[in-house]
């Protein structure tokens, strides 16, 4: 019984709901950026019905093949729904609609031959964020709940699984061997294919590339421990993985922005509203001071105050 309870509270810790409210704002705004910069091709792709190869999810739900009116409708739904949900307005309805529309939109983007894997955490986030429901006072909420804790935990697990599962896939694709991927010429292959980044300068050093493969493979395989880290150790892990993404961006010109942004599910976002309030109050104080005719602080006044 006690084990069950501890498992339940690991999957559903009690956390401040304001964390979810802030994360909603960030992620729904990110969706709007995403459909313009990352998965930006569904509308042009929908002009090529002859190249469409529906994914399992599209066949399962019998989704109609993409057409230009359909993709433009999805685009408009995502824009309107994204803005509403970012403002924490109608979180269940707007959030649910955005989750379905974005999943479909992204699935269309992946139905013309190439499937990307940087959207796992974001898609999961969009499906779980609405389940927290209405958060009174939004960013300034003082309520805590397991509902919020579960949503955040799901996003955290998805972020970490993006790394861990990619390591599993590397073991699988190498014929269930631990060494085949790290010892392969994969980075060389990737750099030759994407000669835009700094990676070209590494082409003459295949041994260094192997070392980098071993390093990233080990990091991915052991990423699961991050789910049990707290405080400084968690911060260090987050900084490490952000560095990892900056590095792959520099070397290969590959970004994992949708995964990177979901790292915010680990952050104490509930501190944002009080922090903003303090900044505002300080600004007001300063403005108020000036209007009361004190252009500079008067030292003696402070001493009197301090003395009681």
């Amino acid at each position: 019984m006690r084990t069950l309870r501890s498992v339940v509270s690991w999957f559903m810790p009690v956390v401040p709901e304001s964390r979810v409210a802030v994360l909603r704002t960030v992620l729904y705004l990110f969706v709007i950026i995403d459909i313009h910069l990352i998965v930006r091709d569904p509308i042009p792709l929908s002009r090529h019905p002859e190249l469409y190869q529906p994914l399992m999810i599209e066949r399962l739900f019998r989704l109609p093949p993409p057409s230009v009116p359909l993709t433009i409708t999805l685009y408009l739904i995502l824009m309107v729904g994204g803005l509403l949900a970012a403002a924490n307005v109608l979180p269940r309805l707007a959030g649910g609609v955005v989750a379905a529309a974005f999943t479909w939109w992204t699935a269309i983007g992946m139905s013309y031959g190439k499937v990307d894997h940087d959207h796992l955490a974001l898609v999961v986030a969009l499906w779980v964020l609405p389940t927290v429901g209405v958060i009174a006072d939004r960013w300034r909420s003082v309520e805590r709940s397991r509902q919020a804790g579960w949503a955040l935990k799901c996003i955290q697990i998805s972020v970490i699984f993006t790394y861990f599962l990619s390591a599993l896939t590397k073991i699988r694709s190498g014929g269930w061997s631990i060494t085949s991927w790290p010892e392969s010429s994969i980075l060389l292959w990737a750099i030759v294919r994407r000669p835009h980044g700094l990676g070209q300068f590494l082409l003459p050093y295949p041994e260094l590339l192997h070392l980098m493969q071993w390093f990233s493979f080990t990091a991915e395989l052991t990423a699961v421990v991050v789910l049990w880290l707290r405080g400084r150790a968690l911060l260090a892990a987050a900084v490490f993985w952000m560095g990892f993404h900056v590095f792959t961006l520099a070397i290969l010109y590959i970004h994992f922005a949708p995964t990177a942004i979901c790292w915010l599910a680990f952050a104490p976002l509930e501190r944002l509203a009080p922090w903003l309030r303090r900044i505002k109050a300080r600004g007001r104080e300063r403005a108020g001071g000036r209007s009361a005719g004190h252009p500079v602080p008067v030292l003696r006044d402070q001493a009197v105050d301090g003395g009681g």
């Binding site: 999957f11 559903m12 792709l45 994914l55 992946m110 003082v142 993006t162 990619s166």
Partner: protein, 151 residues
């Protein structure tokens, strides 16, 4: 500041646990057994394969012959051709069997480059880079398919 804790019903707890178990199960199943077709529960297979130290690296491109005699590269990006390189690469067998599928690239390029002379012919080509014992070796250009645009 005092913080209240919202209550949660047993049913709420139960469906969340069920969803978590199902989700993790689908993800593991996808990574260990399924293909990309199972997105978003498919394997995270980008850059996950293991090219050998003597493999050939191919870059697929489309080239076009313009009415003024120039042979130009039609960059395979959504902005320039309406379709990306990966999408064309995934269709190579279909395109070599039926080169008229290159129409999508030709149309996409022409509609975005109206000031350029008309396209007469397009080729699907590959730059093939051979690795020799883990190092970059010679590069060669291979033509996979050609298609005359209907005049």
């Amino acid at each position: 500041m005092e913080q209240r804790v919202r209550s949660i019903s047993v049913a709420s707890l139960a469906w969340r646990i069920a969803a978590t178990v199902l989700g993790i199960g689908l993800l593991l199943n996808g990574s260990l057994l399924m293909s990309d077709d199972a997105w978003p529960f498919g394997p995270l297979s980008q850059y996950a394969f293991s090219p050998s130290r003597n493999s050939t690296i191919v870059i697929t491109r489309v080239e076009g012959l313009l009415a003024d005699g120039r042979r130009v590269n039609l960059p395979l990006r959504v902005e320039t051709a309406g379709i990306s390189r990966a999408e064309i690469e995934a269709r190579i067998p279909q395109i070599t069997a039926n080169p008229s599928l290159l129409r999508s690239v030709a149309d996409g390029w022409m509609s975005r480059h109206t000031a350029e002379p008309a396209l007469l012919r397009v080729w699907l080509v590959q730059d093939q880079t051979r690795l020799v014992d883990g190092r970059v070796g010679p590069i060669r250009l291979v033509e996979l398919a050609a298609w005359e645009l209907p005049s």
